[in-house]
């Protein structure tokens, strides 16, 4: 597994409502290639906000940040980041419900103008890997919650990112399905060498990650490995 540093953030700050809501207040962290890191914290602690900053969906108010060699404070870099380097998985699958699985998977490839044939091959390969190959021509509204989340993971992997940002990906699934989706992520990290930053408030998932970063009061409290993973 690669040891290359993918994310370095120093003293990140983010406020909302013209500075009245202080969400991140000096967050520093480092993530290396191939590792699975949990962002663990209570609801409202700022996990989603931090993931958005790391993935170039939003801009910090202050601090230093480098992701995959790019500077997400710059608009052009954010676009490159989203197109080529990071994939997102959300709690709500955020798929387009009346399109088929295959059509949803095609979206990231269309964004960067990937050739159609290569896209088809990639869709087939990924769908096989996450076990939804038999669902490709079904609409999202007709498949189960677990299958939707698998599709969402597939979509996040379409552009072969080095980094997967997962925001409570098991949050809307029942326990058993949640476990399989988590195992799938775990498996992908190990087989493909992709780094995952996983926001969760569930201890059992946090504990299975390589490292746990505890988010509290707008800061990261501990960068120590979680019990049992060292």
């Amino acid at each position: 597994m690669s040891e290359e540093v993918l994310i370095t953030a120093r003293d990140l700050r983010k406020t909302y409502d013209a500075g009245r809501v202080r969400v991140l207040d000096g967050v520093s962290l480092e993530v290396r290639g191939g590792e699975m890191v949990a962002l663990w914290g209570a609801s409202g602690s700022g996990k989603s906000t931090l993931l958005h900053l790391l993935g170039g969906l939003d801009v910090p108010d202050g601090g230093e940040i480098t992701v995959c060699g790019l500077d997400p404070r710059r608009e052009a870099h954010r676009l490159t980041l989203r197109r080529h380097h990071v994939g997102f998985v959300f709690q709500l699958h955020n798929l387009i419900p009346d399109l088929t699985v295959a059509e949803n998977l095609r979206v990231p490839a269309l964004a960067r103008g990937a050739p159609a044939a290569a896209t088809r091959t990639r869709i087939g390969e990924l769908a096989e890997a996450v076990g939804i190959a038999h669902r490709l021509n079904h609409r999202i509204q007709d498949i189960s919650g677990g299958e939707r989340q698998r599709t969402a993971i597939c979509r996040a992997l379409m552009n072969s990112p080095q980094l997967l940002l997962a925001d409570e990906p098991t949050g809307s699934l029942d326990e058993e399905t949640g476990d399989t989706v988590f195992s799938l992520l775990r498996h992908l990290v190990q087989t493909r060498g992709i780094a995952v930053v996983l926001a969760t408030h569930e201890r059992r998932f946090a504990e299975q990650c390589d490292r746990v970063l505890r988010v509290r009061s707008g800061r990261i409290e501990s960068g120590r490995p979680a019990v049992g993973s060292g």
């Binding site: 958005h52 969906l57 080529h84 955020n94 387009i96 990231p108 490839a109 960067r112 103008g113 379409m158």
Partner: protein, 370 residues
């Protein structure tokens, strides 16, 4: 440009919404095509009435409509006396009623008028024109809708005439009109001693400017215009043209609002989805391109529909017996280009704001909306 594939995916997803936009543009196109080509046709027919075998038209200055113009007979005689004038044909326009037909154009003309020679005579002889007392001559269409045959008596206004001849002309106005010898027409309309216009044929057309100058200097109340000049300056034509474009553009405005509405709905109901596209690597420009692309596809589909409807309507109107052949649609290439451009511009203009709005959607913010 591959991302534009999503344009079709989106339109397919919201068929009804897309169809409403298509129909809006389609009706605009159809309305504009129909109105413009009918007006063009009508103007063309009217121009040709005046332009039969002539170079210049002499008529009264400052009249709003040729029906009100008066050129005294002695002026016609004076025009005929000019060296460069080959022929001067007076023409008196009037409107008559017959039976349940409220408006029939009546032409008063002299037997020498070239249109009589150009016509295809179906009944009676051209040489007899003006020699049958109480006679009236009918255009073929007029004879059809008046159900009149040669030799029959028909009521025109308060008078009664005998049909002395029937002839077909290619001009819808003439074919649906009735013809009287100039003298009889002057009496019938109480416009003794005058014609509406005099059509002049010159011997030497290159000396037209000189002809115009001489006529206008000798007759301060008259005007001489070359046919082409007349067509461009005649106020009635201008009003017709203006009205046609104005009505057509209004139809388009409605179509444009339809597209704007379609695209706004499309954007507002997809805010979260657009945020997801951004997450998946779409740039603001690509998002705007998707919305504009949808509008352009709607415009092209609307154009196809509208041209189909428009040509269909024109065909139907031209063949409706009620219109007596007055409708001879003329579709000009420039007009068609104008319609195509207007359709695309309206659709794009109607979707500029929605596209701008869509391109400004911030992914992080929009993803928080449930």
């Amino acid at each position: 440009m591959r991302f534009l594939a999503l344009v079709f995916v989106n339109l397919r997803r919201h068929k009804l919404r897309a169809l409403i936009g298509v129909a809006g543009i389609g009706f605009g196109v159809a309305a504009m095509l129909t109105i413009l080509s009918i007006v063009n046709g009508a103007i063309g027919m009217f121009e040709r009435i005046l332009a039969v075998d002539s170079h210049y038209l002499v008529f009264e200055k400052n009249v709003s409509d040729l029906f009100f113009s008066s050129v005294p007979d002695d002026k016609t005689a004076a025009l005929r006396g000019m060296a460069n004038v080959a022929s001067a044909e007076p023409l008196l326009f009037g409107l008559v009623t017959s039976g349940d037909r409220p408006i029939i154009t009546c032409f008063g003309l002299e037997p020498t008028n070239p249109r009589l020679a150009n016509a295809k005579w179906l009944a009676g002889r051209r040489e007899e024109f003006g020699r049958t007392p109480g006679g009236i001559w009918l255009g073929a269409r007029a004879a059809e809708f008046l159900e009149a045959k040669a030799g029959q008596k028909i009521a025109i206004g308060k008078g009664e005439f005998t049909v002395a001849g029937i002839f077909a002309t290619e001009n819808g106005f003439e074919d649906g009109g009735v013809f009287l010898p100039l003298k009889d027409a002057q009496t019938f309309f109480s416009r003794e001693g005058v014609a509406s216009v005099v059509a002049i044929k010159l011997r030497d057309q290159t000396r037209g400017a000189e002809f115009k100058r001489v006529v206008e200097a000798a007759n301060p109340g008259l005007m001489a215009l070359e046919n082409r000049e007349f067509n461009q300056s005649y106020t009635q034509f201008k009003i017709l043209h203006f009205t046609a474009w104005a009505v057509g553009l209004c139809a388009f405005l409605l179509g444009g609002l339809g597209v704007a509405n379609t695209m706004l709905l499309s954007v507002f109901s997809r805010i979260r989805e657009i945020a997801v596209l951004r997450v998946c690597g779409f740039s603001p420009g690509q998002v705007a391109g998707l919305i504009l692309g949808e509008a352009v596809v709607i415009a092209l589909a609307g154009l196809t529909l509208g041209l189909g409807l428009g040509y269909g309507a024109l065909f139907a109107l031209e063949h409706m017996p009620q219109f007596n052949g007055y409708i001879q649609a003329v579709v000009k290439p420039g007009m068609l280009a104008g319609i195509v451009a207007t359709a695309i511009i309206t659709a794009v203009a109607g979707s500029l704001w929605p596209a701008r709005f869509a391109s400004k959607i911030q992914p992080a913010e929009a993803l928080r909306y449930e």
